[in-house]
């Protein structure tokens, strides 16, 4: 399988603190890769470096073989990489549909064409399909801010898929979501992967969620990759157990 994303020797330090310390891995077309690790192991910093929210101190990032190290978030998104954030990041004053149209519109035509073109950038149908896919149809016209936490998480994920990205990075999609909603979310993500062939990387605390969703898991500890393997391999690795339970 050909790698969509290659990260090589990525390093990020803040002053004297090294948050990500020489991380390398690959993401393959059509897979769901999980990244787990205890709090403060550098998972979110890793995402922020890949996606341009932070500039890495060293190392390089290739997307389909092209070096994209240090690109801006906008540029990364235009290249087909989208993401969700650990904390809720929807646009509360916009309706659910508007949130999704927004997530797709910047990928349609030039700025000037968008100004003089249709108000929805021709995306209403696509947005409604996505809303339907994430089972939010009854809320399509509600303000995103009025949704429950779990529903907002679903919307957040839906937005990440709206522009038909090459790769989606999900930062703790399950955090704070209750059990019923969690099953829903997992099932939808899996369907996204199976039906639409979406490739994605998931950072998660919730081991069960990761283990049942992902085909491959990377374990990070203190900014370094501890091991990579299938969920079964990870679960039985003594080093992982020690990292999680030892300290």
């Amino acid at each position: 399988m050909k790698p969509v994303l290659q990260v090589t020797g990525l390093r990020k330090s803040f002053g004297g603190v090294v948050a990500v310390d020489g991380v390398s891995f690959e993401v393959h077309e059509g897979e769901i890769l999980g990244i787990i690790g205890p709090n403060g192991c550098g998972k979110s910093t890793l995402f922020n470096c890949i996606l341009g929210q932070l500039v890495p101190s060293a190392g390089d990032i290739r997307l389909d073989g092209v070096d994209v190290t240090g690109s801006t978030p906008e540029a990364m998104n235009r290249r087909g990489v989208s993401r969700t954030f650990q904390l809720l990041q929807v646009f509360p004053e916009l309706s659910v549909r508007e949130n999704l149209i927004l997530a797709g519109q910047e990928h349609r035509g030039t700025m000037l064409a968008r100004l003089f073109g249709p108000g929805d950038a021709g995306l209403t149908a696509e947005a409604d399909r996505m809303i339907g896919f994430f089972r939010l149809s009854h809320l399509a016209d509600a303000k995103a801010g009025s949704l429950s936490y779990g529903q907002q998480k679903l919307l957040d994920a839906a937005m990440a898929f709206m522009a038909g990205p090459r790769l989606v990075l999900l930062d703790e999609p399950a955090g704070g979501v209750n059990l019923t909603m969690l099953a829903d979310l997992k099932e939808r993500l899996r369907a996204m992967n199976a039906e639409r062939g979406a490739t994605f990387v998931v950072i998660e605390h919730n081991m069960d969620f990761v283990m049942s969703l992902c085909s491959r898991v990377i374990v990070m500890v203190e900014g370094k990759v501890l091991m990579t393997g299938t969920p079964a391999q990870v679960r039985s690795d003594p080093a992982v157990l020690e990292a999680y339970l030892g300290n």
């Binding site: 998104n77 954030f85 100004l115 108000g119 016209d141 303000k143 019923t180």
Partner: protein, 346 residues
Amino acid sequence: MTEVVAPSPPPSPPVARAASGLSRRLDGVLLTLIAGAVLLWFLPVGMGRYGTYVLTLWLVTSIAVMGLNLTLGIAGLKSLAQAAFMGIGAYTTAILGTKFGVDWYSCFLLSGLLSFAVGLLLGFPALRVKAHYLAFVTLAFATLVWLVFRNEQWLTGGTFGIANIARPTLFGIRTDGALAFHRFVVVVTLVLALALWWLIRSPWGRAFLALRENPIRAASLGVDIRAYTLLAFAIGSAYGGFAGALYSPLVEFIDPSPFALSASFMLLLMVVAGGSGYQLGPFVGALVAVALPEWLRFTGGLYLIVFGVVVLLLLIACPQGILGLAERGWNALRARLGAGAAEPSR
């Protein structure tokens, strides 16, 4: 965390907040704008020149407030310089018109263009600094522009100002009379308001809102923060310039005083008092600031204190402005009158 099943979506508000529906259809805002223009076309008949003048001044001010509402209310960028842009437009029109005999329409376009360009430049600090720091950069800019208006007498007439600014001619019809000029301003205001209506309902408007709500998330969705920040500033400023281009022929005289920092404060007050982010808010806000003091003159020498107290109480009662209060009241009313099942939405 407890999961609550969300109530059925709240009914969309009457004063269509830009947020609740961005598609271009015949909505409340559009209807109000067109109906309002028709009404204002006929309203001053028999009103006397003073009443007509105040109405016209209200509309001209509304244009400047519309621009600031785009920059601040829609895109969330705090600017304390709108009166300075109004000044740039007013002086451009006055100087080109009186010294070089340029016709008003060219002056109008150039005023908007120059304000757009200067707004674009002022937008650059906005890329670096956020929130109140940005407000203070624009505050400094507004004062510096005022100093230039006052000090560069060779260009701006300095403290003596520029007099005898001509009013425009439309299809050979002169607009020297109060009513004719008022109607001219009604048309220009309608065109500018419709343009803004179109803009806010375009993907740009959605991107501006995203900028206000959550710029970091917006960037990760491919929204070009840089371009949209600069555009929000520049377009808002251009509206300030357009307003200035109408202010000059309205008063037929300009000097630096209406473009001082305190005037920028007043324009900001109008945005918030009317309802920040509501498309009809600027008209309401400008009505409060332009017409309310005139109405309050019956209270005698204390009318400005009364005005201050009214505004203060208004803001305490409804920090989202008059249209915010109207929306809340309307929603509550709908909820009470509608099916008993519907809860009042917050």
